[in-house]
């Protein structure tokens, strides 16, 4: 576990230049690593395979940790990280699905990822496919009205193939209170974990509920 994070940290250092979003990149690193290493079904050779699980980084800023995980898993050569946010590169300050293999949705403006993830989960349900959809939000992002629209919708629809991760690095200007409890009242199977504890993250992400969407609030202090 520590070795993995150290290796990813070295990869991230090859892609410097986003100091403003640095804390954001590190706050998501453990969760995204566990997701790709233990939970998601995917094939880097065939990034849009119908058999894959889907992951949407709704909180698109600070994507360097995400890029490092994608490179480590073989979606693109790690050398690409050297071109992070440069004219020559494909890795922007927010991820672009049309340029970066493995990126499902182009994000950057907050509050867009969860509605899109709901559409994907609904689409999979319509196609009768049993793949899962994961979407990662930040706690600050939870100030957006569209987040709460879609929290209400997914809970009402009982989208059991959807898991929403909220990385809580306590950056929200507004006090969100107990987020897991709030999501629970909207009809989600919600739990809180230590966002640096890989075993706890894995157990929480592996869990699905038969009738409800799942939410994992990952506290990273």
């Amino acid at each position: 576990m520590d070795d993995d994070i150290a290796r990813l940290g070295r990869l991230m250092k090859t892609g410097e230049g986003d100091e403003k979003h640095d804390p954001s990149a590190y706050s998501t690193l453990d969760v995204i690593w566990v997701l790709y290493d233990k939970i998601l079904r995917f094939d880097p050779e065939n990034p849009r395979s119908e058999d894959r699980d889907r992951f949407v980084l709704s909180k698109g800023h600070g994507p360097l940790g995400f890029y490092a995980v994608l490179a480590d898993k073989g979606y693109f050569p790690p050398e690409e990280l050297r071109h992070f946010m440069t004219w020559e590169g494909i890795l922007g300050g927010h991820p672009d699905r049309n340029q970066v293999p493995g990126v499902e949705a182009s994000t950057g403006s907050l509050g867009h990822g969860l509605p899109m993830a709901i559409g994907m989960a609904l689409g999979l349900r319509m196609k009768r496919r049993d793949r899962r959809v994961f979407v990662l939000l930040g706690d600050g992002e939870c100030n957006e009205g569209s987040v709460w629209e879609s929290v209400l919708l997914a809970g009402n629809l009982g989208l059991a193939n959807l898991t929403c991760i909220v990385i809580n690095n306590h950056s929200s200007t507004r006090d969100l209170g107990d987020l897991a409890q709030k999501l629970g009242t909207f009809g989600w199977a919600a739990t809180s974990v230590n966002g640096r504890d890989h075993a706890a993250i894995e157990a929480a992400l592996a869990h699905t509920d038969e009738r409800r969407p799942a939410a994992v609030v990952a506290d990273v202090g």
Binding site: E104, I118, E149
Partner: protein
């Protein structure tokens, strides 16, 4: 003033939308309809026939568009529908980011064009839709003038892989034109100049120019714009554009199409003003000068200047 034909209950563009969707959904399993609480009764048949590919998300328009994008990512062809400001202005950023930026195909069908909801105040007016959508790269914009034209144009464009906006209005023309997606239709040719009439403005424009020897081009697709047909029919360099929303959305396309020619343009449409009166759409037309008499006078002044 000459009366402008308004659709009866049995033959509105919205009724046609329901018929078109119900028919297409039977043949195309990729089509999915997403509503935000508007037109649920008009689309009851579609929802009953295809419960798995229809969803009313409730009053959450940003989420409606985002959900459509997610469906498009999964291979579906989504159709979102609401009243113009709630389909275009409130979730404008979702149209930009979730469709144009992602390069996804989808269809957005509005109801309540300009001041169709004449008694409801500016919150329910849809006069800015086409001008602001025209700023989005890749967004196709269709303004049909009759229910049948909507049917024809929707069938042509709905599965073309681009985001496409269909502007439905209560106002309509009396007769269908032989429309084709992305093409201007030459209604008639004349010698004094060229009038470009958009969608439901054709009838009022024809009444306005009675007795004038003008070329008339009918425009039911704003984007992509048919510059070729305009060039072939802009013989004098005098161009009049008559649009049913805020005036001027087409002017940059007209200027680009005729950039190497001396051209004068008269742009007629809804003026940018906060409309505070109620009454009927015809009351607003009179107040804004969008009657055959008002439009005709402006065109005559322009040609004689």
């Amino acid at each position: 003033m000459a009366s402008l034909k308004t659709a009866g209950a049995a033959d509105t563009m919205r009724d046609q939308m329901a018929r078109t969707l119900e028919d297409l959904m039977a043949h195309d399993e990729r089509l999915a309809v997403v509503l935000a609480d508007i037109s649920t009764s008009q689309l009851k048949g579609v929802f009953r026939a295809y419960p798995e590919r229809t969803i009313n998300v409730g009053i959450m328009e940003q989420t409606m568009i985002g959900v459509c994008a997610g469906l498009a990512m999964e291979g579906f062809i989504p159709v979102a529908h609401s009243i113009t400001p709630f389909l275009v202005e409130r979730p404008y950023e979702q149209l930009k980011d979730d469709f144009c930026y992602q390069r996804l195909g989808g269809n957005f069908i509005s109801i309540g064009a300009s001041y169709d909801y004449s008694t409801e105040g500016m919150t329910h007016h849809g006069t800015g839709d086409v001008p602001i959508l025209r700023t989005l790269p890749g967004m196709e914009i269709v303004v049909p003038g009759t229910p049948d034209e909507f049917d024809t144009l929707f069938r042509e464009a709905y599965a073309d892989g681009a985001p496409t906006y269909f502007r439905l209005s209560a106002r309509r023309n009396a007769e269908d034109r032989p429309v084709r997606f992305g093409r201007l239709d030459v209604v008639r040719q004349g010698s004094r100049g060229t009038v470009l009439a958009v969608g439901p403005m054709l009838d009022v424009t024809m009444a306005a120019i009675a007795g004038l020897d003008l070329t008339v081009l009918y425009c039911a697709t704003i984007a992509p714009f048919d510059a070729e047909t305009l060039r072939a029919n802009a013989t004098t360099g005098d161009i009049v554009v008559v649009e049913p929303y805020y005036a001027g959305a087409l002017v940059p396309d007209v200027a680009a199409a005729l950039r190497d020619r001396r051209t004068r343009v008269e742009s007629i449409g809804v003026p940018r003003a906060v409309l505070t009166r109620y009454g009927t759409p015809e009351h607003h037309d009179v107040a804004l000068g969008l009657t055959p008499e008002g439009i005709g006078a402006r065109i005559r002044r322009f040609l004689d200047a």
